[in-house]
Amino acid sequence: MTDASIAMAMGLLIFLATVISVELGISVALIEICLGVLAGNVLGLQSAPWIDYLAGFGSIVLTFLAGAEVDTRLLREQFKASVLIGGLSFLLPFLGAWAFALWVLGWAPDAAKIAGVALSTTSLAVVYAVLVETGLTSTPLGKLIMASTFITDFGTAAALSALFISPTPWIVAFLAVSVAIIVAMPRLQPWFFRRYGNRVIEPEIKGAFAALLALMYFGRLAESHAVLPAFVLGLAVSNVFAAHRAQQQRFRVVAFAMLTPFFFIKAGMNVGLGAVSANLAVLGLLLAVKMATKFIGVLPLARRYVGPHAMYTTLLMSTGLTFGTISSLYGLQANILDQTQFSLLVTTVILSAVVPTVIAQRFYDPRRATAGAAPTAGPLTLAPAEEGDE
């Protein structure tokens, strides 16, 4: 296929995904992955280097957005509980999935690490959508779940960047550039916004893109991944984003219209339906490992902090989508994963977006628990802190 025909096909897929998403009320990302699967397996659409690059940039933009969506005030409010819940929500699934892939499935050590990272994630977006839908975003329970998710995301981003560092001289340059951008950008942004902001030529968005492209470039030179500095950069500018809603919205418009679709469609195109259908038992086991380790890590702490809503909290912390897909695609593009391993991980990640969410909403919805609870139970508040807790 020529570049022009691939571009036309991608354009049609991106447009079609948007229409289907609006009609069905399902996230455009999920539809893009599904259409990518269809395009790769049925239509025989193949990727091209420019698609690979755009998809890689899309993943960095998504990571930056995830960092920029962190509510730092909320994180401070719920710091101790969220570090404990979010930390174990990352650590146990990471270790569990890593060990399972290495010793039970017999994957290579680096592939097993990717499995650990991809299945350790919690999807802030999936969690947030459920909390908005149930009206829980501003309750203590909702705030704790979101703050814990930020911590888990940070763990995932850190692991993906740190685990595959090669000891090359470029690592020093990568670190220096990352620190310089992360320190300078939030300090320069207020002046930059005043001087150049609010123009149709979008200097703010181009500035952010330039910073992210620089992180990607030095990340590749260092044979690492720019996901951690992109996440931290997003975190560093999150207050600026929160104060400039119009700029944030325009950044999202550009990202959703032009960059992230390439990432999700590309991820879908690499999923082999044959590989998935031939390994359904492994798929089930990977999902079971993710959910079981999330339960082991989160449920006891959730019982302590959110009492009657421990199961709901644990199920939401078991969701995953974006970071899991980013990790898996990184593994594939770096030749750490083969196509079967990639297909299994991405499918598990997608299932983990759907299965725990459906169970949580169907059987553990706090609003329904509230209806049947004693009037004094105060079920949407946190459990009383034990002695020594903040």
Partner: protein
């Protein structure tokens, strides 16, 4: 038969508008109070918080516009209506609201905005009829003779 509280479910469709007219007729005839309800649904399994936030803002703005028009239509006919915007699957939101607010009659259109969603996921109206705690008046495309 006593009807004191009517819930009119609106989604911005043409049939919804006709349901509004029918709801006003019944409310005036029975001297019942009426509430106009619009459900907003967020994209399931979103990949970014931004997608949810933007969809929420867009749908809320749309729902407010639909409700403003409905309130105005009711006022023109001498009826004051209350309004409510709720999050969630439309069928669940309508049924839950009816349960929680002692609604005697739900009025809604037979078909909403999306034929594809109806084909793949099922009809909101069918679900409301199946689970409603009260009577449901369904306004169809066929005009009464």
């Amino acid at each position: 038969m006593e009807i004191t509280h009517i819930l009119i479910a609106l989604d911005g469709s043409e049939l919804g508008r006709r349901a509004m007219e029918a709801g006003i007729d019944v409310a005036l005839r029975y001297r019942a109070r009426a509430t106009v309800l619009t459900a907003i649904q967020h994209p399931a399994y979103a990949a970014t918080v931004g997608e949810v936030e933007e969809a929420d803002a867009e749908q809320r703005a749309f729902a407010e516009r639909v409700q403003r028009e409905a309130v105005e239509a009711a006022r023109m006919r001498g009826l004051d209506v209350a309004t409510a915007i709720v999050s969630g699957h439309p069928a669940e939101a309508i049924v839950d609201y009816a349960r929680q607010h002692a609604v005697d009659l739900i009025v809604m259109g037979h078909r909403g905005l999306s034929n594809l969603r109806r084909f793949l996921i099922g009809s909101v109206t069918d679900r409301v009829v199946d689970h409603a705690p009260c009577m449901v008046l369904v306004v169809t495309e066929r005009r009464p003779r």
